[in-house]
């Protein structure tokens, strides 16, 4: 069989394949580019970018947990101006759509960052991060309620013509509520999930393992929850869904696509193996070839009911 079509489209952004990096697990591309050509990716998603530089939380910021990890980085980033002048030119060198993850303490900050990115060359979409659990102000505070998410997405919508992709937090009772609110406020697509709030304790020292006390859980441990939420949300909304959470292999990625995801993001798997994105792209192609699937789009949401 000839090569299957892996290309997908999200909010008008054409991607060679459905595999993207997950925000905060690929930096701004320079390090991953030592391992593979970033042009192989469906899309590149940057670390969260704020209006001003953020220092991030005090260390220790990460700790390993069973088949996963907790992080409380606290969105350390150089700020939007330094991102545009120092980081974006590197990413422009590659044949890959760039989506910028946007964070803020206030609605005004989200709007200001979005404006600056709209004027910058080489930004294809904005992933609106209303789901980071590791900062005290903003972010997940907005994403935890339908009202909060609508407020941020609505305001950013007015400020930019770029595709808007709010990233949802799983730390809510009903994720379809925030999903619908985001779409009603103008979202072109949705990313989910961000990390689950957790903690870990060292019994020797009787202290918390993270200086921030709580952190976000990621990795294979969260995959079943992420998959369930992607299924629920893709049933509830009409916009494309990007599936994230514990994807380690092509098989995991296919599960998310069958559940309703148009694309997937690879996060913690890149720590396990920096080549994960490429291995997963190759694995998806192999799955399609051996299963006689001529177009990956045929698989989206095609899980059968029992």
């Amino acid at each position: 069989m000839s090569n299957p079509n892996l290309s997908v489209e999200i909010a008008g952004i054409k991607m060679k394949n459905p595999v993207m990096t997950a925000s905060g697990t690929a930096g701004f591309g320079a390090e991953l580019a030592e391992f593979f050509d970033l042009g192989k990716l469906g899309a590149f998603v940057t670390k969260g970018i704020s209006l001003h530089p953020w220092r991030g939380n005090e260390p220790p910021r990460t700790t390993e947990t069973p088949a996963g990890m907790l992080n409380a980085i606290g969105l350390q980033n150089p700020g939007v101006d330094a991102f545009i002048s120092e980081k974006l030119p590197f990413l422009r060198k590659f044949d890959v759509p760039v989506m910028v993850n946007v964070v803020g303490h206030s609605v005004e900050e989200y709007v200001e960052v979005a404006r600056k990115l709209t004027d910058a060359e080489g930004v294809h979409g904005l992933e609106i991060n209303v789901s980071c659990p590791n900062v005290k102000q903003g972010c997940m505070v907005f994403g935890s309620s339908a009202k909060g998410i609508a407020e941020v997405v609505g305001a950013v919508r007015k400020a930019t013509s770029l595709p808007l992709i709010p990233k949802l937090t799983p730390n809510v009772t009903d994720i379809t509520e925030t999903a619908r609110a985001a779409v009603d406020a103008g979202a072109d697509a949705l990313s989910l999930i961000n990390t689950l709030l957790g903690t870990a304790i060292d019994v020797k020292t009787r202290t918390f393992k993270l200086s921030n006390i709580t952190g976000g859980l990621s990795g294979p441990a969260i995959k079943p929850i992420a998959l369930r939420m992607v299924y629920q949300v893709s049933q509830a909304v009409k916009v494309p869904v990007i599936g994230i959470g514990g994807i380690m292999t092509a098989t995991d990625a296919i599960e998310f696509i069958l559940a309703g995801a148009t694309a997937v993001q690879i996060g913690t798997a890149s720590f396990f193996n920096p080549m994960s994105c490429v291995l997963i792209i190759d694995g998806i192609a192999e799955y399609a070839r051996s299963g006689k699937v001529s177009d990956i789009n045929e698989l989206i949401g095609k899980v059968q009911l029992p």
């Binding site: 905060g24 697990t25 690929a26 930096g27 320079a30 390090e31 991953l32 030592e34 391992f35 670390k47 220092r55 991030g56 260390p59 220790p60 910021r61 990460t62 700790t63 390993e64 069973p66 088949a67 996963g68 990890m69 992080n71 980085i73 350390q76 990795g219 294979p220 380690m248 913690t268 890149s270 720590f271 396990f272 193996n273 920096p274 080549m275």
Partner: protein, 281 residues
Amino acid sequence: MKQSYCDILENTELTPGTMRLTARDAEIAASSRPGQFVNVLCGHCLDPLLRRPFSIYTVNKERGEFSLLYQVKGRGTVLLSEKEAGEKLDVVGPVGRPFHIDPEENIEHILVGGGCGIVPLLFLADVLREETKGKTVVLIGAQTAGAILCEQEFLQRDLPVELSTDDGTAGRHGFVTDALSEHLRNLPADVQPRIYACGPHEMLKGIARIAANPQPSTLNPQPIPCQVSHESAMACGFGVCMGCAVKTRELHCATEGCEDWTYSRVCVDGPVFYTTELVWE
């Protein structure tokens, strides 16, 4: 920096709880510099999930081999200790900023290692011999005689070694920092010292203090260039996650008393830093 599957040539116990692993990978052997490390996948499934960082211990470029020296501590290193010659080792490396080496004459390179921190200093000693004309001395500190690592390896290279133990069971009774102060006091005036240290945080802090202000009464009252290899818990180990943060002075104000600091990454901005670049708390 690349990801590769190396051939394990040996993985043997040297002293109880301390292992040496030698592996073949021509590219890693050819491109590694002292102070750099590799990130090793110790398990064989998704748990434990994260790689473990280990300093490069020795390199044999001709044979395309490198070795690690590690202590068996927790789950990751227990699994690593079970690997055998003939198996593959999944490695990312070499990672990080290596020790800066000054090739000039009239320099004395003082290598200070505490506990397991001695590991990157053997590779450093080998490269100093190849690339510089200066003299090298080694100061090793450990809690007790049984915990001293690498003494024989340095002696085999004809390098002067001075031991210190906290309990006095070998060498001088006391901290390696005291040995360093004394060594600096006795240094001839025309010799310029350079310090390279690796070990527990408290030891590095003490060494940073000595380097910043070597005994005012000595013949070398000016600060001594001093590099330390810093450790921190890591998640990605190649610079993308910001998990391994350490407080560093902003480059434009690497001066004493400057309040302006930032978080840098131990894995790729380090692990080697000049003591003047770090904020010591």
